[in-house]
């Protein structure tokens, strides 16, 4: 994260993410969409029933978060990433439909990582526990679907300088695995 960040505008192109490597710091600009557990379940249901999705995943970035309520004068409340693995059962469905980026925290399943490599999608980590800071990068927020889900509704966010780090690139890199290996000192458990 100490390196100069790469600035990327959304939506992302395949070429745009091909240059990214695990560990790269990226600042995102533009529209990203929020979705977490319940919204993913509904999207999967929509796909199964052939109903159009609330937004076309092609080129888009989804942020796994359920923000806290906004104080008056703020576009959004604190909004840090939630554990991405809970979205693992659903993510390949969206990756196959052109999703280019996901923002969350925690490891992804091999199935998701394989879909990412095959179809061209990267997984970004944001630091959970920096929800108040991340909310400052959100300039606009609007619920576009599943309003009844409250914090879990799908929101269209406009972000500026939204800081993330590449966890899984297109080439099999995994920041969590590499970081742990590098700093591991448990000789007996290696």
């Amino acid at each position: 994260m100490s390196a100069e960040p790469t600035h990327l505008e959304t939506p992302l192109s395949r070429e745009g993410i091909e240059a990214l490597k695990t560990g790269d710091v990226v600042h995102l600009h533009g529209v990203i969409y929020t979705a977490r557990d319940a919204a993913h379940a509904r999207k999967a249901d929509a796909i199964e029933k052939g109903v159009p999705l609330p937004f076309d995943p092609e080129g888009q970035v989804v942020y796994f978060t359920g923000p806290a309520p906004a104080k008056p004068g703020h576009p959004i409340g604190p909004a840090g990433p939630t554990t991405a693995s809970r979205m693992d059962p659903y993510s390949p469905l969206l990756i196959e439909r052109g999703l280019r980026g996901m923002i969350g925290k925690g490891s992804r399943s091999e199935e998701v990582r394989k879909a990412m490599r095959e179809h061209g999608c990267v997984y970004f980590g944001a630091v959970e526990g920096t929800a108040a800071l991340l909310a400052r990068c959100v300039k606009e927020a609007e619920i576009i679907a599943y309003e009844d889900l409250g914090a879990e509704a799908i929101r269209r966010l406009v972000v500026e300088d939204f800081p993330v780090v590449v966890v899984n690139d297109l080439y099999g890199g995994d920041l969590y695995e590499e970081g742990r290996k590098k700093w591991r000192r448990l000789a007996s458990r290696d």
Partner: protein, 280 residues
């Protein structure tokens, strides 16, 4: 008998909800600052710096420092000479949670049932554990428990022969399995002893101890130190990006158990370690 009006409990709970969610405890902030000195990985240090900056912004703006404002868990030490007037204590705590989460712009994260999953809309019910104690005091300790790290917690029933080595292995395995998902640097609550449910409850209660304060029992304090060292040798590091600070503190609570049993529960808390308490 000392009489306490339940509306005082409601007011105190409301304030605790807002305080715990917007201000990290001083001991925890100190532990994070120490971690910043100790961490050798550059990316790990940056994560800790961001956590500290985030805590400052949350405090200044009086907003939650984590969007997962969790389960509202309360440990209540209730003096047996206290009599409540004006309502019942459980309802008073729930009303305080309702008001605190609404007025503090905190997220409502509780669903009515694990199967049906409709949000209760006000973060109730609170999770309340009562301890009846001598005297006429009333102490409420709140723990805001996020689900990401709670999900990575575990309990196992060992045998006396398996003992402490099995316990230590299990704690390490739980943390290795959690990896980045539990949002390190962690506070690790461990409950040993009692029957099944007691161990889990102790593990949760252990999290309410001021960060890094050792157990009064020197043997348990030694185990806490040893486990902390081993956990920090896993390499998981801040946010799981790699480093030498995976946990800030290990707290063990112990309770008598059965001649046939060695229950061990591990409850993980993320870097947003939120506790606050008040005496009425």
């Amino acid at each position: 008998m000392r009489e306490i009006e339940t509306r005082r409990v409601t007011d105190a709970v409301r304030d605790l909800c807002i305080e715990a969610n917007t201000r990290l405890p001083e001991e925890h902030l100190r532990a994070l600052r120490r971690a910043l000195d100790e961490e050798e990985s550059a990316i790990g240090r940056e994560v800790i710096e961001k956590l500290l900056e985030n805590a400052e912004v949350a405090r200044e703006e009086c907003i939650a420092f984590c969007q997962d404002t969790g389960y509202a868990v309360f440990f209540v030490e209730l003096g047996q000479e206290v009599r409540f007037v004006g309502g019942e204590i459980g309802g008073a705590i729930d009303e305080g949670v309702r008001r605190g989460y609404e007025e503090g712009y905190l997220r409502k994260s509780i669903v009515r049932s694990p199967i049906e999953r409709t949000n209760t809309g006000d973060n109730t019910p609170a999770i309340v554990y009562y301890d009846l104690v001598p005297g006429d005091g009333l102490k409420l300790t709140m723990l805001v428990k996020g689900a990401g790290c709670d999900n990575m917690s575990a309990l196992k029933m060992f045998t006396p022969a398996e003992g402490v080595p099995a316990m230590k292995r299990f704690v390490l395995e739980t943390i290795e399995e959690a990896g980045p998902n539990a949002s390190p640097p962690l506070t690790v609550g461990i409950g040993i002893g009692g029957p099944f449910e007691k161990a889990a409850q102790l593990a949760k209660k252990a999290l309410t101890r001021p960060s890094g304060e050792p157990n009064l029992d020197p043997e348990l304090a030694k185990l806490e130190r040893e486990l902390l060292e081993e956990i920090n040798a896993t390499g998981i590091g801040p946010a799981g990006y790699g480093g030498i600070v995976t946990a800030l503190a290990v707290h063990i609570e112990s309770f008598p158990t059965h001649i046939a049993a060695f229950p061990v529960a591990v409850n993980l808390d993320c870097h947003s370690h939120r506790t606050a308490s008040v005496e009425l």
